[in-house]
């Protein structure tokens, strides 16, 4: 039959389907997981990523590495999203989730090649997920969240794999103190808002040992006028989010001035306005005024005369934290400030660290917000320390909210692997092969740990498997430093239950999502709606 080829899709759209798409997805996912593989475990190495702006990121945090990498394959993108989800949800385990998801996909490859329907594989994966969660549930033990030592232990396991492992104790202390400071009880359950109330402030210089959690807040601002007091004991603090200067009108207003005296009056008026504003503040007798907006020179003058220190242009989030720490209410119009809006702290001090001034509001009475002051050699190192601490904070939070823990060092994964392997035998039909594959895939965590510390992988893994197969309840796992097989309850590597469960869930579900795809269409333009809008007027013309 002779006919012109019919173009249905727009030119430039690329379509890949069937096996090619499936295998392509798997390869892409594997590539992503290979990128971050070496950052797992206590012998992890850092990655240096040069971003588009020329800045460098030094990290071994899976999420931080992947975030900077620009990938084009859609499946790889989907993988990268995973570590972000993991980071937002539990804060730790961002590398494990990628490694596990990559492995789950790569063990599925032979099934796809052999022609087993992806749906069967996906069903088996989900079934295995349910069983795995059950195993982890059984394995979990509870610790007392008020027991500092036990909590620190868990945080130490997390820090152990990071750049900061040398300062384990210090980091544990920082994380647990900070989290304990900001924990709040709402309707019977604990709420810990790390994002808003625990701020990490990095100041290059000094030694890592100088880092500390402040009983209060600190930020990089100085008083507006050099003659204002820089140190006040027991200050009364007024927080504003309005400017202390003459503000312009919202509406467009023009003043037409005919006479010279009017001009003067206008200026006078502005002055009077500021004076009035300041008088109202002075009446409350605060020692310190902090505002999110600007403070005019004139206002500074009035405040200084009243012996009030003043700080301007703090961030909204900072102001909220100060309010939380000092018990003040943020006032939005100076005229309406009341005595009760004032907050108190033990000490207000402006210190010069290095080249910059920093304001400390510390020794607060039962603060509900805090700042963690980090010191370190260089900016890049500090950034990595911050990321480590961030992970530690999340671990501390998780453990205080849900005090269940599971053995680390690959022990939990081996348990799951063993349990799934046994269960697979009792399954009927094709489903048992992919099910067993999940069991094998779980071993990727201890295997990677072994690989990263340069142990004899095959021998050690066989030994580990044998020890688990012996059926004892001892949680055998990998000592990531030496590559020996050790009892985790002795070696004391524990991980929060929430992190582990989240890792497994996320990895399996995303693997399932990618396996189900049999068609990739790319190059669809997004500006479809706009295009239509533009073409409409043309039609009218015609």
């Amino acid at each position: 039959m002779f006919q012109v080829p019919v173009l249905v899709l727009k030119e430039g759209t690329k379509r890949e389907s069937g096996h090619k798409a499936q295998l392509g997805n798997i390869t892409a996912a594997k590539a992503v997981s290979d990128t971050v593989r070496t950052t797992l475990g206590p012998r992890a190495m850092l990655k240096m990523v040069l971003d588009a702006m020329g800045g460098i990121v030094l990290t071994n945090d899976g999420n931080a590495v992947l975030r900077e990498i620009d990938v084009s394959h859609p499946a790889a993108k989907s993988m990268i999203e995973l570590s972000r989800t993991q980071d937002e949800e539990v804060g730790d385990g961002t590398t494990s989730v990628i490694v596990l998801a990559g492995e789950l996909l790569s063990v599925a490859e032979p099934f796809i090649e052999r022609g087993i329907h992806p749906r069967t594989v996906v069903n088996a994966y989900f079934k295995a997920l349910d069983d795995a969660i059950e195993v982890i549930d059984k394995l979990a033990t509870k610790i007392d969240p008020n027991d500092n030592k036990a909590v620190n232990n868990v945080i130490a396991s997390c820090i152990g794999t990071k750049y900061m492992s040398r300062h384990k104790d210090l980091m544990c202390g920082l994380a647990s103190t900070a989290v304990r400071t900001i924990v709040a009880e709402v309707d019977g359950h604990k709420v810990i808002d790390i994002k808003n109330y625990a701020r990490i402030e990095k100041v290059p210089g000094g030694a890592v040992e100088d880092s500390c959690v402040l009983r209060g807040v600190m930020f990089d601002k100085d008083v507006t006028h050099p003659k204002m007091r820089r140190k006040i004991n027991n200050p009364k603090i007024l927080l504003l989010d309005c400017p202390l200067e003459y503000t312009k009108l919202e509406s467009q207003a023009n003043v037409e001035i005919a006479k010279e005296s009017d001009w003067e009056a206008l200026l006078k008026q502005e002055e009077i306005y500021v004076e009035k504003l300041c008088n109202q503040i002075v009446k409350l007798k605060p020692d310190l005024v902090i505002t999110e907006k600007g403070v005019s020179d004139l206002a500074q003058h009035y405040l200084m005369k009243a012996n009030i220190s003043c700080i301007r242009r703090v961030k909204k989030t900072e102001n909220n934290r100060i309010a939380k720490a000092t018990g003040a209410t943020i006032v939005s119009r100076a005229e309406e400030a009341k005595e009760s809006d004032l907050g108190t702290a033990g000490l207000f001090e402006v210190q010069k660290i290095g080249d910059e001034y920093f304001t400390f509001i510390t020794e607060c009475n039962s603060p509900k917000a805090c700042t963690i002051l980090l010191r370190g050699a260089s900016k890049d190192a500090l950034n990595e320390i911050e990321r480590n601490l961030q992970d530690a904070l999340y671990v501390a939070r998780n453990i205080i909210i849900d005090p269940r823990i599971v053995p680390g060092g690959g022990a939990t994964e081996m348990y799951v692997s063993k349990a799934l392997g046994e269960k697979a035998k009792s399954l009927e039909g094709v489903i048992q092969f992919p099910y067993r594959a999940v069991s094998q895939a779980m071993e990727v965590i201890p295997r990677t740990l072994l690989e990263n510390c340069g142990a004899n992988v095959v021998r050690a893994l066989t030994e580990l498997r044998a020890k688990h197969a012996a059926g004892k309840e001892t949680p055998w796992g990998v000592n990531g430093q030496t590559g020996e097989i050790v009892d985790m309850s002795q070696y004391r590597i524990w991980e929060p239950y929430t992190v582990k469960v989240q890792t497994v869930k996320t990895a399996v579900e995303s693997a399932a999502l990618l396996l189900r795809i049999d068609d990739i269409v790319s190059g669809i333009s997004k500006k479809k709606d706009e295009g239509q809008n533009v073409s409409q007027p043309q039609n009218e013309e015609e």
């Binding site: 919202e250 996320t506 579900e509």
Partner: protein, 543 residues
Amino acid sequence: MSSLAIYGERQSGEDVRTQNITACIAIANILKSSLGPVGLDKMLVDDMGDVIVTNDGATILKQLEVEHPAAKVLVELAQQQDEEVGDGTTSVVLLAAELLRRADDLVRRGIHPTNIIAGYRLAMRESCKYLRDILAVSVEKLGKSCLMNTARTAISSKIIGSEIDFFANLAVEAVLAVKRKTEDGKYKYPIKAINILKKSGKGARDSQLLKGIGLNVTRASQGMPLRVSPAKIACLDFDLRRSKMKMGVQVLVEDPKELEKIQEKEYEVTKSRIEAILKAGANAIFTTKGIDDAALKYFVEKNAIAVRRVAKDDMKRLAKATGASVQLTMADLGGEESFDPSFLGSAEEVVEETISDDKFIFVRGCKNLASGTIVLRGPNEYMCDEMSRSLHDCLCAVQRALESNYVVPGGGCVETALSIFLENFATTLGGREQLAIAEFSDALLVIPKTLAANAALDATDMIAKLRAVHNTGQLDSNKGNLSHMGLDLENGHLRDNLEAGILEPAMSKIKSIQLATEAAITILRIDDLIKLKKKQEDDSGEY
């Protein structure tokens, strides 16, 4: 080119028809592999690199950016089905394309398109009648499990199909939770009252149905309470920022003193508005616009929650559920500004809750209308998006089953039954329509065929068996349950799909047959295609 002076191209006759039909078949071929419980998903990537993973026919077609005009008709068809029924978008496209393909053959054999159209119309009417009168089974007869089964069938082909019971249950509960009696005594299940929130994190299993309306917004200020109860809700559609004149209005003042007054007034207007609202008793204020930072303190002082930048849709839903009326302005008839307490809606509580890293506002125990929120969790956004699309289909299916009260067994059962029926019906007719109806009857089989092919079964063999069974069932009314036989795609044989719980709302099937036929007819009627060229010279000057 033709002598007709057209600035463009013109095609007519067989050329254009064949081309249209080829385009439609191409579209159907793209969708083919996503049909049925063993269908797979598509990954769509746009030029910005954003990814969509989906199994939903309407979504796939919407994203594909189809260029061919005839193919566009099919895309719209899928959209139509999505809007009217919500489910069955893939099958409707497949059916329409198959109808066209067969019509093309008939035309080649020298039958005029109008004859085919008449035949198709007749077949459509007859099959809908047959479906409604004979095949449909009432929901009451099957009991409550039937709803679960309908939900299960709708999601079996989707990503959440692996957690089928969990999500079916979620959907049924959600739909039943929004049950509402209308004035004429019927029950309505407005699924618009079910809000779906997506948040990546945790696992699919951790999705949950929450009572009340969930909004993806936070309190305007940290100082506001986390919870107010009982809540009096004000829904506003205006700014609570410092009021200003609209664009272009200038105020000219002579006396500088006046300037101060204007400034004072700007504050006062907003302040008095807020005070009026608070005075009316509101303790939860929602606005689609902004609230001035400077104004937040008034709310904090009164222990009220204020929420800014609420999406318009959410606002409508909120107003409907709580009985509040959305206020566009505060001006009353007297020319003054006031806020009447009757504008307020009420609910048991308004709370802010944290899910994962994000904060959401929940309005619970609404006065007027029960409503639900489903919070979906998943490994990443793509999955959450796809879950929400799947769940939407499922909710629609449950709603249709409840409202239309009739279901039909799925798994290719209905199509085969109709095909046999039409075949017999065709032989009773004398005219040329007979041929068209016979083709229509064959075209219906595309659904079971594709289902079988996707499940890697021998389609020809399975269909032959299925037809034989249905034929016996229709000839001999004693063996009634034979007409419920359909494909069992997991194990590859036939079974009674009514008993196995593969159910679809009857209304969805009827609609999809109607829509597919209409679309096919629209395309069949075309015998001339004129494509005008864009006037490019004019464009550059204007844009």
